[in-house]
């Protein structure tokens, strides 16, 4: 049997907690840290001194507070010096960013991604972006790692992307390919797009303070990042949260996954465009076009939005009954569809969800918008640092 945690472990844990606090909440005074973390003042002082020496935070006197007494020093994350690369492989585009500690995007690149592009072709432009951004990094900056958000099912252990039907891959070693392309990349972590977005909205966005959250991300398909009791629901292999493939209409359309009547065949991009009589179009802009037309009074577009809204409410109602979340966040193109079809979504949700499950539900749009995926990807990389700030 093992004794309690050693002094060293406690210290490492406290360092991680403090760094995580300023990473998520931004500049915070020592006095407030003392309150929030429940540690005493001298401990906070010693911990910040360690983190300052390690170059992870800075301390400075605050602006004039107008109050009596010596002002408490403000601890800020070293956003411009400590950074991670964040890559995001989405259905329509590829994005890369350099994200500073504290979740600040320092530099970003973006390119379109043609539908059906193969994995190797996606990895190369992303690696190109990283090489480009690397040239502008100041000499004293510290690289932490790289995180990748993929719109697909990702085996976190080795970055194998499995059956991402919307992007058209079956089983592709994205992690290995990126590693080969980037060369000396250090820690490389992959995660599902909706999962990482959910984590970010949970820690610093629209669902901050909520412990039970469902983040829905819609484009061609629909995915979800589910947080229950403050933890991500990942499932056995890490593939959970594929709500887009819950079957809502057994007699519905065929889905790209091979099944029939999956939720995303009723609420995804294709369904909306088809109802709007624009079946030949694809992409985010086309979806926004339908939303815009609906708001301007186009009856066909309004029909499409209402139809899709009903089905969104149907699925969300089921999820609400199962998870009893405090907050459901509509991301991707679902944000725009939600804002224009809220009446249908809410009405259907009210009809389907049990009163006890829905009474405190908050339906929200993301606060970090499309940046959530990039900040979330960076979060995957920062996670290693936050676990043990003084390592490496």
């Amino acid at each position: 049997m093992r004794a309690g945690p050693s002094q060293e472990e406690v210290r490492r844990h406290n360092l991680g907690t403090l760094l995580r606090y300023v990473h998520v909440h931004g500049a915070t005074s020592r006095a407030e840290l003392t309150n929030r973390l429940g540690l005493n003042r001298s401990t906070i002082g010693a911990l910040t001194a360690d983190l300052t020496t390690a170059g992870l935070v800075t301390e400075a006197a605050p602006r004039e507070t107008g109050r009596a007494g010596r002002p408490s020093l403000v601890v800020r994350p070293e956003s411009s010096k400590v950074y991670a690369y964040a890559l995001s492989i989405e259905v329509d585009r590829l994005r890369a960013a350099r994200v500073g500690l504290g979740g600040r995007i320092l530099d970003r690149r973006e390119t379109d991604r043609p539908r059906g592009m193969q994995v190797l072709d996606a990895v190369q432009p992303l690696a190109g972006f990283v090489h480009e951004m690397r040239a502008d990094v100041p000499g004293d900056a510290r690289y932490v790692g790289t995180g990748v958000a993929v719109a697909g099912m990702v085996r976190r252990a080795d970055g194998m992307v499995r059956l991402a039907p919307t992007i058209g891959w079956v089983e592709e070693p994205v992690g290995a390919a990126l590693r080969a392309e980037l060369g000396d990349v250090g820690k490389l972590t992959l995660g599902n797009h909706a999962d990482v977005s959910a984590l970010v909205e949970h820690s610093r966005g629209a669902a901050a303070g909520c412990d039970n959250v469902i983040y829905l991300y819609g484009d061609v398909g629909v995915g979800a990042g589910i947080i229950a009791d403050g933890r991500r629901v990942a499932g056995h292999g890490g593939y959970g949260g594929e709500v887009g493939h819950m079957v809502v209409n057994p007699y519905g359309r065929e889905c790209s996954c091979g099944s029939r009547g999956c939720w995303e065949t009723e609420i995804g991009e294709y369904a909306l465009l088809k109802h709007a009589g624009r079946g030949e179009l694809t992409g985010r802009e086309a979806v926004l076009g339908v939303v815009e037309a609906a708001m301007r009074g186009d009856s066909q577009a309004q029909f499409a939005v209402r139809q899709v809204g009903e089905w969104i409410g149907f699925g969300v109602g089921n999820l609400v009954n199962i998870f009893n979340p405090e907050s459901v966040i509509f991301g991707g193109t679902l944000r725009d569809v939600y804002l224009v079809a809220a009446a249908q979504i809410r009405s259907r949700l009210t009809a389907i969800a049990l009163p006890a499950c829905r009474e405190h539900i908050r339906l929200r749009t993301p606060e970090l918008g499309t940046d959530a995926a990039l900040i979330g990807a960076a979060e995957l990389a920062f996670e290693h640092l936050l676990e043990d700030p003084l390592l490496n």
């Binding site: 926004l288 301007r296 809220a342 009446a343 009405s347 009210t350 009809a351 009474e359 749009t365 606060e367």
Partner: protein, 271 residues
Amino acid sequence: MAATPLLELNGINKGFGPVQVLHDVNLSVYPGEVTALVGDNGAGKSTMVKCISGIYQIDSGTVTFEGNQVAIHGPSDASALGIEVVYQDLALCDNLDVVQNMFLGREKKRGIVLDEPTMEQMAGDALASLSVRTLKSLRQLVASLSGGQRQTVAIAKAVLWNSKVVILDEPTAALGVAQTAQVLELVRRLADNGLGVVLISHNMNDVFAVSDRIAALYLGRMAAQVKTTDVTHSQVVELITGGRSGNIGLPPEKPADFGGDVVDITPGGDK
């Protein structure tokens, strides 16, 4: 979701000469929630807002703010309590910049000169607290702003004064699609920051997208105040157009005879 209302109106009556506009209206506004005030044209929405903001005096009824009964005799009483109204026409001055507009009539002074740095700082903080990123400069003239940006400035102006209740009159009317979405998110954020928000809107999607409660006025009477999670779109439309829906809303009997007696209504029995 707090249990005690921030602002509570009870039995409000208001008439203009022979025309009785509001009959025994009740309304509760809770902190951290958006209460949507809906009703057809002429239902009394604007009159009610003007009663709350002190432009009109109520004929009878009580107003309770944070648990204390208060009397609102004029707009300055309302703003002293922390009630701000953002009107449909926004009431911004085109020839002034963002900061000047936000402090118009309530400028901060240091001695006899205006304290520009403090005002700019406060304006910036107010916009930042609402995560507004669409404004390039605080010294831009309002004339150069888009409709959505003006709406943003008008709303930020309302939160600048430690206001507790913000009333928004049709904030998304006359806005483009993207701007409507932004303003709706802003309305939601106001409430999530702990304010009590009253949203007047004709657009059912806006109402369902951001509200926690819906208060439906019908011909000067409060048909019902319900939680948004408990009603459907068609129920709210029935409340607006007919004053009742199933077992919620005004009693089916002649409303004029209804003098505060208890009226039993069988659920669904009036269909």
